[in-house]
């Protein structure tokens, strides 16, 4: 009897809560470490970037305006859904990163735990980073951190899931919306993660996932006037200077990232959260 032929999956983009093909119609083959064909990934275009930014902008008011409690619930739900599809992610991460299943498993576990960590941050950011300001005068003055807006993320190239989650979750926890360019050679866990996000009550457009080349798409994100911050982690170190120059035209926040991709298994500090927050100081006179 013949072996069962598996049903191959067509991997698409994730924009505005939908899974479209790339506007460009282009795809590129994704292989595992042994050179075996895994799938064709969509090769995103400049137009896909623009559509994704428009979707992220549209979703910003709702996501940033949601209560911190609600955002925490949604991020925790992402962890729940990831946990439910743990085996699938282990297989995809192992194939993408050419690591043994045991190592892939610990990367997936760490990714799940990272969502839980950031889910817990949503309603603590304002307490920890905000302030009541003891000004020298009859005024009530307080400072609250607010999300910066639309964040363009060039996801880490090597760590296909844990790295991606480590750069994406703080953006969302802070209340921003995101346009992500996934790892070019290891994009499949990113698209599967999008399926998780789509079913985890995350409003459409809060995360937009593009597969393709950071070198090609990064400059459209860096130069886009409606993108407020840029994470250049996935860009080649030699390209980051040019991205930062393009970002300067709109005074974008550009995250300072280490030259080499860091060890994502380490617990993060608050640096990423802080970069995507705008402290707002409000004053009112006191009196009767």
């Amino acid at each position: 009897m013949a072996d069962r032929v598996s049903v191959a999956k067509t991997y698409k983009l994730y924009i505005g809560g939908k899974f479209p093909r790339s506007e460009s119609g282009r795809v590129y083959p994704v292989h595992d470490a042994k050179g075996r064909f895994l799938a064709n990934a969509a090769h995103s275009s400049r137009k896909d970037v623009r559509d994704a930014v428009a979707a992220a902008r549209k979703a910003f008011a709702g996501w940033s305006g949601a209560t911190a409690y609600n955002r925490g619930q949604v991020l925790y739900r992402v962890a729940e859904m990831l946990e439910g599809r743990r085996e699938q992610f282990v297989a995809e991460v192992a194939a993408s990163e050419n690591i043994p299943a045991r190592k892939a498993q610990s990367a997936v576990d760490a990714a799940i735990d990272r969502w839980v960590w950031y889910a817990g941050w949503t309603d603590k950011i304002a307490t920890v980073l905000g302030a009541a300001n003891p000004v020298a005068g009859p005024y009530f003055s307080f400072t609250v951190p607010e999300p910066t807006g639309v964040v363009g993320i060039l996801a880490p190239q090597r760590s296909a899931l844990l790295g991606l989650v480590s750069v994406l979750a703080p953006v969302l926890a802070a209340g921003n919306t995101a346009v992500v360019v996934s790892s070019a050679d290891r994009p499949l866990p990113a698209i599967t993660l999008s399926e998780v996000l789509a079913t985890a009550d995350l409003p459409g457009g809060v995360v937009n996932m593009l597969t393709g080349r950071a070198a090609e798409l990064g400059s459209w994100l860096a130069a886009h006037a409606d993108v407020n911050a840029l994470d250049p982690t996935g860009a080649e170190p030699a390209e980051r200077g040019e991205l930062a120059r393009q970002a300067a035209d709109t005074v974008k926040r550009v995250l300072a990232v280490p030259e080499e991709e860091p060890d994502w298994s380490q617990r993060p500090d608050l640096g990423r959260l802080r970069t995507y927050l705008e402290p707002k100081t409000v004053w009112h006179p006191l009196g009767v």
Partner: protein, 477 residues
């Protein structure tokens, strides 16, 4: 209108201890400086106040080396509690010499003495007091268990609040263990060089603070110097973008405090007389040379006529003239160049069809002055509603609903500040949430305090100054 006459009440310019020449301060000494000397003017009279030596590229390099040496050998190694005492000393010395500094500031900048005396100098001292107390408490600042200084900070400040901007920059840098090379603005270098004397009187170790007067090219030398670890800039968005481009791809940490086009939103239930005082303070304070000035008045349509009538009446009582006169409300525009910019933008307002009203107050024949001006019938597309004028020119727009007010207020690439005037508390808090601005003043305007973080969204820059948040700019988290 009853005519009140005021007897002249000028502050004596002798108090400023003005010297014929001032020199750069590098490595704890005043040095000649090999740049082309500049002459600084009194903008109220156009007379030369003093000659000021400037720093060439070689001088900037010497200053950076002095700062590096001081950073490595003394300042970063010193216990925070000891650093704190130096900073407290500086605060006290500013208070002791406050009258001298205020008069000198008004002479060099053109701002009314009552503002330099009551706001600039005391707030500058307050910044040193506030940050001195942080020097030995950085572990509690919420930036991680062991925050470390960055190294040498290059700082470039504007001419609108020369001493106050210096304090905003130097106080947090020193408290966190950094050393500094600061360039004051070309047209207002004098109080920075008196501050250098204060550093000497405080016996601050040589090289911890270096002051290098000069123009944009001196600033560029600082920005591009490879041994500078951090750049802090306050000034125009245009220059801010240039600086961001220059440091792109380097390891330098950058904070920018740039321009603004703040909306001051007045609802129909606002106490109009109080609102008028706030509007006047918002746009005519410091001749409107304030990055967070409330330069766009958004008035609810139902009260705009009444508000404008009250506003014009109030503005017509503002006294324009000698900055050293204690009765002066509006002093001199800082430079001929700035005056030309303000005139050009005001003319564009007329050309684009806005209605111009200018106070009939007497204007001195000499010096750089611009009478307070209010444009009504302003549309969002006009240059006077979009571009920062940086002068005593107010643009009045109207709105009908709170949502429209928010949309119009946020319709700008800037995001530094905003004002809200209403008696309804829930509306204040809702508006404060909706406005994309780093500082929101409700039923007040232009309040500053070292304990309250200040800074902008979007093209108004990034980073905050003041409060615990402000320390982040000078520390590795």
């Amino acid at each position: 209108m009853p005519a009140f006459d005021y007897a002249p009440a000028p502050e004596s310019r002798d108090i400023a201890n003005l010297k014929p020449s001032y020199r750069p301060f590098i490595g704890g000494e005043f040095v000649p400086g090999s740049g082309e000397p500049l002459k600084t003017l009194n903008p109220a009279t156009e007379e030369v106040l003093a000659e000021v030596g400037t720093a060439s590229a070689a001088d900037v390099d010497t200053a950076v080396q002095a700062a590096r040496k001081a950073y490595e050998r003394t300042w970063s190694k010193m216990p925070g509690a000891e650093r704190a005492k130096y900073i407290f000393r500086i605060a006290r010395l500013i208070q002791e010499r406050s009258r001298e500094l205020a008069v000198l500031e008004s002479l060099d900048n053109g701002k009314p003495i009552k503002e330099s005396r009551d706001a600039d100098v005391p707030t500058a001292a307050a910044h040193f007091f506030y940050h001195a107390g942080w020097a030995d408490k950085l572990d509690y600042a919420g930036l991680g268990p062991d925050p470390r200084p960055l190294g040498v900070a290059g700082q470039i400040i504007p001419w609108n609040f020369p001493l106050l901007m210096l304090a905003w920059k130097i106080a947090p840098a020193l408290a966190t263990g950094n050393t500094v090379v600061l360039k004051p603005a070309e047209t207002t270098p004098l109080t920075a060089l008196v501050f250098a004397e204060i550093c000497q009187q405080a016996e601050l170790p040589p090289g911890v603070v270096n002051i290098v007067p000069g123009a944009g090219d001196t600033g560029a030398e600082i920005v591009n110097h490879p041994d500078v670890d951090k750049i802090a800039f306050t000034g125009s968005t245009e220059v801010g973008k240039l600086i961001q481009r220059s440091v792109a791809g380097t390891r330098k940490k950058l904070t920018l405090e740039l321009g603004g086009k703040a909306a001051n939103v007045v609802f129909d239930d606002a106490p109009l007389d109080q609102a008028v005082e706030g509007i006047v303070n918002g746009i005519f304070y410091n001749q409107g040379h304030v990055c967070c000035a409330g330069s766009r008045l958004l008035a609810q349509e139902s009260v705009v006529d009444e508000l404008l009538a009250k506003l014009r009446y109030r503005v017509s009582t503002l006294r324009l003239g000698d900055p050293l006169d204690k009765n002066t409300d509006i002093g001199a525009i800082n430079s001929a160049e700035q005056l030309a910019k303000i005139r050009e933008l005001a003319e564009s307002g007329e050309a684009e069809g806005a209605q111009r009203w200018t106070s009939s107050c007497p204007v001195p024949d000499r010096g750089f002055f611009f009478a307070p001006t209010v444009f009504s019938g302003v549309q969002q597309s006009m240059r006077i509603a979009r571009e920062e004028i940086f002068g005593p020119v107010l643009s009045v727009l109207t709105f009908r609903t709170p949502d429209e007010a928010v949309a119009k207020a946020n319709n700008t690439p800037y995001g530094l500040s905003a004002g809200i005037w209403t008696e309804k508390g829930s509306r204040i808090l809702w508006m404060a949430n909706q406005l994309r601005a780093g500082v929101v003043w409700a039923n007040t305007f232009n309040r500053f305090d070292p304990a309250a973080p200040f800074g902008g969204y979007q093209e108004s820059g990034f980073g905050r100054e003041g409060g615990r948040t402000g320390l982040e700019a000078y520390l590795h988290g």
